[in-house]
């Protein structure tokens, strides 16, 4: 069957939910970050797919570039925080980092 926009969007959706699942369930902070990266990738696939199928010029791709750049910056800072977390809690299991419990 001719691979159309919906296929790419479906793929992105699947990736998105997998990333989301990782973020929601994984205890290890780094895995959560990986999940986040996966989610961002899914978003990027959508962008590029739209760029190709819908407005057929490069805006989508440029936005994808910016998303990647932002993701990089985010990952950097996030990891710094995680390492700090490790420094304080001697473990990066998120369920232990619940000092803000109500």
């Amino acid at each position: 069957m001719e691979v159309g926009l919906n296929h790419y969007l479906a793929l992105a959706a699947i990736l998105f939910s997998l990333g989301l699942f990782a973020v929601v369930t994984k205890k290890n902070a780094v895995t959560v970050l990986m999940g986040v990266e996966l989610i961002l990738n899914a978003a990027n696939i959508n962008f590029v797919a739209f760029a190709r199928f819908i407005d057929t010029d490069l805006d989508g791709q440029i936005i994808a570039v910016f998303v990647i750049v932002t993701a990089a910056a985010a990952a950097a800072v996030a990891l710094a925080i995680v390492l700090n977390l490790y420094e304080r809690l001697k473990s990066i299991n998120l369920d232990e980092a619940d000092s803000l419990a109500g």
Binding site: M1, E2, V3, L5, H7, Y8, A10, L11, A13, I14, L15, F16, S17, L18, G19, F21, A22, V24, T25, K26, K27, N28, V30, T31, M34, E37, L38, N41, N44, I45, V48, A51, R52, F53, I54, D55, T56, D57, L58, A64, F66, I68, V69, A71, A72, A73, A74, A75, A76, V77, L79, A80, I81, L83, N84, Y86, E87, I92, N93, D95
Partner: protein, 163 residues
Amino acid sequence: MDFTNIAFYIFAALTVGSAGVMVFHRNVVYSAVGLLFAFFGVAGIYVLLAADFIAIVQILIYVGGILILLLFGVMLSQKLTKVDVRTESMQLVPAVVVVGGVLAVLLLTISSTPWKLAGSLEYEPTTKAIGRLMMTEYLIPFEIASVLLLAALIGAAYIARKN
């Protein structure tokens, strides 16, 4: 061109499979490897979507930068005695339900919305075009990106240095 269809399915399978490994595997490093192949798969998808520059950027930054960073993060934050680091996961059932729901929602919207397809971008190099666009139309985001990077650099360095 059934060749690209096959390629799409191959890459899709690769990506989803490796993403699955990343999500469901308990060992963090295996997740990282899974993530590596997921990124590689996504790069392949970009190639199929006629975005060659983005594919390379994807590999360069995600694989060459973020993944390395994550691996470093993993390495630095583990007691090396237990090599295979167990990462339990929690609240599985509710998560499955909710994420399933979100997936359903997304798929539903995708299938239901009438996309206005306007032909497809032909396969031809995009680097020059992106360069030109970057310098003209997207100048402001470009400069802001630099400030963002600066902030991230200083921020992360500061946080890292604190301990």
